[in-house]
């Protein structure tokens, strides 16, 4: 899988918020579904490598923002499903506000040029 020109790495620090947002929209997703959801939603621009996805999930678990359960996929395969916790939802809201504020500010600066 060579890297194509239209694919972007996820900027550092934003992966966690992407995961949280993705989980916030769905009920429960396993790792692959999360990666796929991000890819699809970004219009095939953002690819999440498992090398960063699972450590990020692990960090979110430790912080208590997401919770996990082992369950079966529709194809009856064992998978670990993640969902947002109340704590995570609160954090997500805070982060989204912050993100919007910052991105609006950046846009202002860029437009001013």
């Amino acid at each position: 899988m060579t890297k194509s020109a239209d694919r972007e790495d996820i900027p550092p620090g934003t992966l966690e918020i992407l995961i949280l947002t993705t989980l916030g929209r769905a009920d429960e997703l396993h790792g692959f579904e999360i990666a796929e959801a991000i890819r699809e939603r970004s219009g095939d621009v953002l690819y999440v490598e498992e090398g960063s996805l699972y450590p990020a999930l692990q960090r979110l678990l430790v912080k208590g923002w997401i919770a996990d359960t082992w369950d079966r996929t529709p194809e009856n395969r064992r998978a670990r499903y993640y969902r947002l916790t109340a704590l995570g939802r609160k954090h997500l809201e805070r982060e989204l506000q912050r993100y919007q504020r910052v991105s609006r500010a950046i846009a202002l600066v860029l437009l001013a040029v």
């Binding site: 790792g31 208590g64 998978a79």
Partner: protein
């Protein structure tokens, strides 16, 4: 990190194995799903698999990183380090065994001493709420360090006037043997009379029945008894129906009202008590100056020790003002029982603990040396690992882990050693050396505190002996050891090793000097002329119960005469007598003394004297010289004039320039109504209290004029006294059929026993000193041998260039001797500073006795030369050709 985060992190760390498996599953699923998607997208099966597989490297990395994100990274490496350390230690079994052995001795000795300290001083007393238990003493306003006993009237006033105590209890300071004659063989059992408040103040409930009622303190109602669990099981076959039954105590019928639980242990100033009886106040007890009771009290909840101190001081001073004849100059002192227990430990445990700490330091130095030697051979390993990117800090941490693992192994073995030896120690302890109030001798052992101590000491010594070698191993340049043999770069490290050698010598010197002064002290103590002849003297105790406990008149007026008639008639008995306070047994009593015809000295300057009660012939039996006058005889009865024997010290103090015989004194203050007593004889000063206590002015009274409830029967025999025990006991059984004897010993055993505490300290210290010396010899020999091995090529070159054996010897020995001398110097300085902590346990020798210091220094120099000689001999046998070739290879 929040608490929740900490918990989650901990959970991941602990469930590591499961967690790894989970992550594995998760990844596999991810890869499979991705391969499927690729296949669906039209990529050929093989290509899809390959594309997926190409990702595999990053999966492993992902696994590692996920794991790190979820756990304590350092905990993970910790586990790795421990595993690595164990593996490395396994590869050098000789080194590991040696180090563990040395550490086992060091840590084991420390654990043993600490378990002793713990059992006697640290562990909370086995009573409910021991912090609120206080000892209450009579003391002097001018000298508040006095721990004085008190009397019933004072106690009643304390009880009525204080507001700080829930209650106060009183018990007989001496206690005595009570004769049990029903339910089996007659037997004497240690017991004590107590107030009804005694058990409630201690906070203990009986296991069966009840304890005493207040009205049972009065004579007539006092024929009740509470048994200890041990006595109940042993003598009454654990019969629960014994409660309410009558047993014979001193020939009288007593009703058993209660049995105490098995964990109740009571000893205070004497051996553990096995039965308790109500006080049964006698006429004598009701006198305010009849001080024969110890007092304990329980603080009210919320009251502080300071409250109790100040209030009791006020009460004490008020009583002194109200009762000047008896209480002038006196007040009351309150001390928490735990504090009193601590200060009454006779063995200088903390000093011994300090010394044993030094032994551990020596052991650590030895192991550090071993590790240095090993570190040198591992130089290449470290250099390679550093070249591969291992951080210095990481390497040091890992080496430290190795030494901590080593320390822990040593600690575990040491714990086993301590467990085994504490039993031995328990058996070795002389009764009175460890006669600590409220502490059971059997309680020495390993509990959580001891375990934590051992763990702490093990880890700490691991760090201690590991740090220098670890730092030194990592200090060296990365490139050098890869090119050169480790032997070639010895300079700096050699100095470190010899520095450790000097430390070792210094530490050993301190321990040796400590043991040295102890040995001198005990030798001088045993060399003290006691003033009595303990040879061929048999002693045994007998109770002679009487109404007025400590003031006569005798309930057995024929006792002394019968002794002479019956025991004196046993063939081989030279003479027989009896004394209330057996010399050198620690027993003693005191009385105020007033000399006839002298002005009133005032209560504050009242003279006193040691006091005892004796039968005729006591001086002859003990071999104490009679200097003037006569001994007591059978004619000194109640009807005859009151008489006393005094020792030289009292005679000289009272009548410095004239003969004492015929003079009169009374045993009480100036205004007391005591009768005048005539001095009939003066005897030579003898150390009656203890060998290390100076002779006090002493007064003896005849048994038939002022009897005592417990007498020690002393029999001088023509041959070995122990053989006479059965015959003497049979004769005594004829005289007093209801009074069994106890404590049958020879007087020589008593003398020996009286130095028991010091002797034990000396033996322990000597043991430690021998251990230290052995460790030092091993350490010195090791350092020198290693240094010779490292310098083989240098020595080879010297020999090739014409150096003689003497030169080589001088080279090798010179180095170790100069470092040893440095160590000796440091050790002497340290001894001068540290050994004064031993002062309390020394007799007639300074803790920094110059002779001892010089002797020990010489010994250490000789030992270090001897220890260096063996490896030095190897140096002169170096074959220059092979030595040089070895370096080339």
């Amino acid at each position: 990190m929040t608490l929740g985060g900490l918990w989650r992190r901990l959970r991941f760390t602990i469930g590591r194995r499961r967690f790894d498996a989970d992550l594995d599953d998760e990844m596999r699923l991810h890869l499979e799903l991705r391969a499927e998607r690729l296949r669906r997208a039209g990529v050929a099966g093989v290509e899809a698999d390959r594309a997926t597989r190409r990702q595999f490297g990053s999966v492993t990395l992902a696994l590692e990183r996920s794991r790190d994100a979820g756990t304590f990274a350092s905990l993970g490496t910790l586990r790795q380090d421990v595993r690595y350390a164990l593996r490395t230690l396994r590869t050098t079994p000789g080194f590991t065994l040696g180090a563990v052995l040395v550490l086992m001795l060091g840590i084991g000795a420390n654990t043993m001493m600490f378990s002793l300290v713990n059992a006697t001083m640290l562990r909370p007393l086995p009573l409910p709420d021991p912090d609120r238990l206080m000892t209450v003493w009579t003391t002097r306003v001018e000298d508040p360090s006095v721990f004085g006993i008190t009397s019933l009237p004072n106690y009643r006033d304390w009880q009525a006037r204080n507001h700080v105590f829930e209650d106060i209890a009183l018990f007989d300071s001496a206690g005595r043997g009570y004769n049990l004659t029903s339910h089996g063989e007659p037997e004497q059992v240690p017991g004590v009379r107590v107030t009804a408040t005694f058990f409630p103040v201690l906070g203990v409930q009986p296991m069966l029945g009840r304890t005493f009622l207040a009205e049972e303190e009065e004579p007539g109602r006092d024929r009740v008894v509470v048994l200890s669990y041990g006595l109940w099981v042993r003598r009454y076959a654990a019969d629960a129906a014994i409660v309410g039954r009558t047993i014979r105590v001193d020939g009288e019928p007593y009703t058993v009202v209660g049995v105490m639980p098995p964990d109740f242990f009571f000893q205070f100033w004497s051996l553990p008590r096995q039965l308790w009886v109500p006080a049964g106040w006698t006429r004598g007890d009701r006198e305010r100056n009849s001080n024969s009771f110890l007092s304990i009290a329980r603080l009210k909840r919320g009251a502080t020790v300071a409250d109790a101190r100040s209030e009791m001081d006020v009460i004490g001073r008020a009583l002194a003002a109200e009762h000047p004849t008896t209480n002038a100059g006196l007040t009351v002192r309150v001390m928490p029982i735990a504090e009193y227990v601590r200060q009454s430990v006779r063995m200088p445990l903390f000093a011994l603990l300090g010394v044993v700490g030094f032994v551990l330091l020596i052991a650590c130095v030895n192991v550090a040396n071993l590790m240095l030697a090993r570190g040198a051979t591992r130089g290449r390993e470290f250099a390679v690992r550093r070249a591969l990117g291992a951080g210095r800090r990481r390497l040091v941490a890992q080496l430290l882990m190795e030494s901590v693992v080593l320390g822990s192994m040593g600690g575990a073995c040491g714990l086993v050693l301590a467990l085994l030896s504490s039993r031995l120690l328990g058996a070795m302890l002389p009764g009175d050396a460890m006669l600590v109030p409220m502490r059971s001798l059997d309680a020495i052992g390993v509990d959580t505190t001891v375990l934590l101590f051992t763990l702490g000491v093990s880890v700490m010594s691991g760090v201690l002996f590991g740090l220098a070698p670890a730092l030194s191993a990592c200090r060296q340049d990365v490139s050098h050891p890869m090119k050169l043999d480790a032997r070639s770069l010895s300079g700096g490290r050699g100095r470190l090793r010899f520095g450790l050698l000097a430390c070792e010598v210094a530490l050993t010197l301190v321990v040796l000097a400590g043991a040295g002064v102890m040995i001198v002290s005990v030798a001088r103590l045993l060399g003290v002329e006691p003033g009595l002849d303990p040879h061929n003297v048999l002693v045994m105790q007998m109770s002679l119960p009487q109404e007025n406990l400590y003031y006569g008149p005798p309930a057995h007026p024929r006792f002394c005469a019968n002794l002479d008639d019956r025991v004196g008639a046993v063939p081989g008995v030279v003479s027989v007598s009896a004394i209330a306070h057996l010399p050198l047994s620690g027993a003693g009593a005191g009385r105020a003394v007033t000399i006839e015809g002298r002005p009133d000295p005032g209560l504050k300057r009242q003279a006193g004297a040691a006091y005892s009660v004796v039968c005729p012939n006591v001086l002859r039996t003990f071999g104490i010289a009679l200097l003037a006058g006569r001994e007591f005889t059978e004619r000194d009865t109640l009807e005859a004039p009151g008489v006393v024997l005094v020792n030289e010290a009292l005679a000289k103090r009272s009548w410095p320039n004239e003969g004492a015989v015929g003079k009169r004194l009374k045993l009480g203050p100036f205004n007391s109504p005591e009768p005048w007593l005539t001095v009939v004889g003066v005897f030579r000063n003898a150390r009656l209290n203890a060998l290390d206590v100076d002779v006090r002015p002493t007064v003896f009274r005849p048994y038939n004029q002022a009897a005592w409830p417990t007498m020690s029967i002393v029999t001088k025999t023509a041959t070995a006294p122990a053989a006479f025990a059965p015959m003497v006991k049979r004769a005594l059984a004829d005289i007093e059929p209801n009074q069994p004897v106890s404590g049958v010993r020879t007087m020589e055993e008593v003398v020996d026993h009286s130095v028991g505490g010091r002797r034990l300290s000396m033996q322990i210290l000597t043991g430690f000193a021998v251990l230290a010396l052995v460790l030092a010899v091993v350490g010195i020999a090791g350092v020198v041998a290693y240094s010779v091995a490292q310098r083989t090529s240098e020595i080879g070159i010297r020999i090739a260039l014409g150096a003689q054996a003497v030169d080589v010897m001088r080279l090798v020995l010179g180095e170790s001797i100069s470092w040893s001398l440095l160590g000796v110097g440091a050790g002497v300085v340290a001894s001068l500073g540290l050994l004064r902590f031993l002062r309390g346990m020394l007799y007639a020798v300074s803790p920094t006795d110059p002779t001892v210091l010089v002797a020990v220094s010489v010994l250490l120099v000789v030992v270090s030369v001897a220890a260096s000689y063996v490896p030095a001999r190897r140096a002169i046998q170096v074959d220059p050709v092979s030595a040089l070739r070895r370096d080339d290879s």
